[in-house]
Amino acid sequence: MGLISNNPSVRSYIYMIIFLGPALFLILFFWILPVFSTIFLSFTNMGMRKPNWEWVYLKNYMFVGAHPFSQKVAINTLVYVGATLAFNVLIGLLLAILTFYMDDRTSLVYRALWLLPRASPPVVYGLLWLWVLDSSEYGLLNQLLAPIYGKPVPWLVNYAMPGIIVINGFIGASFSLIVFSSALKAIPPDYLMAARVDGASELRIVKDVILPLMKWPIMFVTAWQTLSLLASYEYILIVTDGGPFFETEVWSLFAYHQAFQHLELGFGAALAMILVIIALIAVLIQMKLFRFREMITPVKIEHT
């Protein structure tokens, strides 16, 4: 007698549950259930101040279009995601190529330094930037610029959006840096040697050999970062909390504010659902554009 069962199909079914069970459980509770509860909430007028709730069907969604700040927030989101994406992909690429040309030890130290923001807790990193960009004369940037400017600049009032973009950009850049560095390491050195012998300068090698070979890693980082930027708001929450006056309010933060500050759970849920749908569409478009099938096959850097 077998320990579990002698029927092979029953046995394999039991094994499946044993092995997949814990993961399925986690997915169910932390992913599927929240999604369904969000969908459910978005069709109600549930709010924390109200003792009762009722179905309102699409009213919340209609209100999204009517809300005076929806358009502003949508544009903010577009600017924020687009600019941050450009910032961290380009900076990440530049840094990766620079460190690629350094000797091993220098490049390691360099990359480790760039990893610090990612390794530090978001709150610490956010507070650090608050200090750097502080409007008073004690802010780090103001202290540094004092000899040139004289009077302190209220950075987070005058340059709130650029500030947010840079803060998030540095975090993202460290991610791109890791991906791009390892992708660069995977390029067979023969290609670079051949290009040198063929008469290419290092700049031409970067343009004509390295960048084309990095196509997949660049696409992967772009897709990944688009999603994470659409969904994340923690640094904005810490540094500007969407201000001054909706200047840096992005969609995900908007949803958070509506749900947990104004306690309009139903409306917040509707906002979140719209973000989910937009993210899904973005993913589908990128999958098509980047030919996802090719991307998930093992070799990301082409060899002959």
Partner: protein, 363 residues
């Protein structure tokens, strides 16, 4: 096309002396092979000539110009890499055109040259493909076309045939040799296949552990190996190399291997005596210079047939002489069986004697 001169060229990677004090001259239009076992520094030498590696010591000259410190892009060398290194994201056409684009040639001239060299290499029907859509032999031709198209002063080839199957390899050998002679381009060809080197090169530089062992024509390399390494490396089946002592007695000069003794002619013995630093020698004789006789004769080596290796055209007879094995080459059809007692008659004009202490040949 240029003469190439390597003057005391060395490359150390930390403790590893990948190439050590290499001195070598290559004539204009000459086809030279670098031959040696894996890790002996062949690729490293090529990469120094191409300008990819900076020599630790020594200088490189093209004609009379010292190019040691010139960037690779200004050396005008063509190189075929061991891996071919075809750019995977470029079509065959663009791969070949790449060096010309970098030279900023006009578009129509690039087109003309690419098509010309493609025709020469018989890949003109493949120009629209990506490297991954080509067979190994086709890739090799593309790599060669890319190296040739820019009218390089020197053509460097790093084991270009090693990825091909045996039949194609033999075909390409002949083609490459013919092409090189037509183009008259100074060529350095790296290989660890001695047959390839012997059949293609005007001269061969045999290397071992970063050092040049001998630099001469294929025939000379075979007939007059300069040291024990070259003697054992060149030739298949390899030369029989046997530990022995060299002595002079009342009858003249004697090679004494313990289990057999061979008497040398006085003239040869004299030369050996004068060039030897001690008495310890390595006695060498190629298998084809050992005749098998079936009765005892004067000055022969007695042994028993151990195993026969028929090779079609030839037959290798392994003869056990006490505790070592001597290979002799004969024609098939002889009536020999393992266990038979035989005598080996050595062609004494063609023997080699090496000083065991220095490793160098004395005759």
């Amino acid at each position: 096309m240029v003469r190439v001169k390597l003057d005391g060229l060395s490359k150390y990677f930390g403790e590893v002396k990948a190439v050590d004090n290499l001195n070598l001259s290559i004539k204009d239009g000459e086809f030279v092979a670098f031959l040696g076992p894996s890790g002996c520094g062949k690729t490293t030498t090529l990469l120094m000539i191409a300008g990819i590696y900076r020599p630790t010591k020594g200088r490189i000259y093209f004609d009379d110009m010292d190019i040691t410190n010139i960037a690779p892009k200004d050396r005008n060398v063509g190189m075929v890499f061991q891996s071919y290194a075809l750019y995977p994201h470029m079509k065959v056409y663009d791969n070949i055109a790449f060096p010309l684009k970098l030279k900023k040639l006009p578009k129509n001239e690039i087109d003309r040259k690419v098509k010309q060299v493609a025709k020469l290499m018989q890949i003109d029907h493949l120009l629209d493909r990506y490297p991954r859509q080509l067979s190994g032999g086709q890739q090799q031709r593309v790599a060669l076309a890319r190296a040739l198209v820019k009218d390089a002063y020197v053509l460097l080839m790093d084991e270009p045939l090693s990825n091909l199957d045996a039949k194609l390899r033999i075909l390409m050998r002949a083609e490459l040799k013919k092409l090189q002679k037509e183009l008259e381009v100074t060529t350095i060809y790296v290989t660890h296949d001695q047959v390839e080197a012997m059949s293609m090169a005007d001269r061969i530089a045999v290397m071992n552990e970063g050092r040049l062992q001998q630099y001469s024509t294929p025939d000379e390399l075979y007939d007059k190996p300069a040291n024990i390494f070259v003697a054992g490396f060149i030739g298949s089946p390899p030369m029989n190399l046997i530990d022995a002592t060299f002595r002079e007695d009342s009858g003249g000069y004697l090679v004494d291997a313990g289990s057999f003794k061979l008497r040398l002619e006085p003239g040869m013995g004299e030369v050996v005596k004068n060039n030897l630093t001690g008495q310890e020698i390595i006695f060498g004789a190629r298998p084809e210079n050992m005749e098998i006789v079936e009765a005892a004769e004067d000055n022969t080596i007695e042994g028993t047939v151990y195993v026969l290796e028929p090779l079609g055209r030839d037959l290798i007879v392994n003869v056990k002489v006490n505790d070592y094995m001597i290979k002799a080459l004969t024609k098939p059809g002889v009536n020999l069986n393992p266990g038979d007692k035989v005598w080996l008659k050595v062609d004494l004009d063609k023997i080699h004697i090496f000083d065991k202490k220095t490793g160098k040949a004395v005759i």
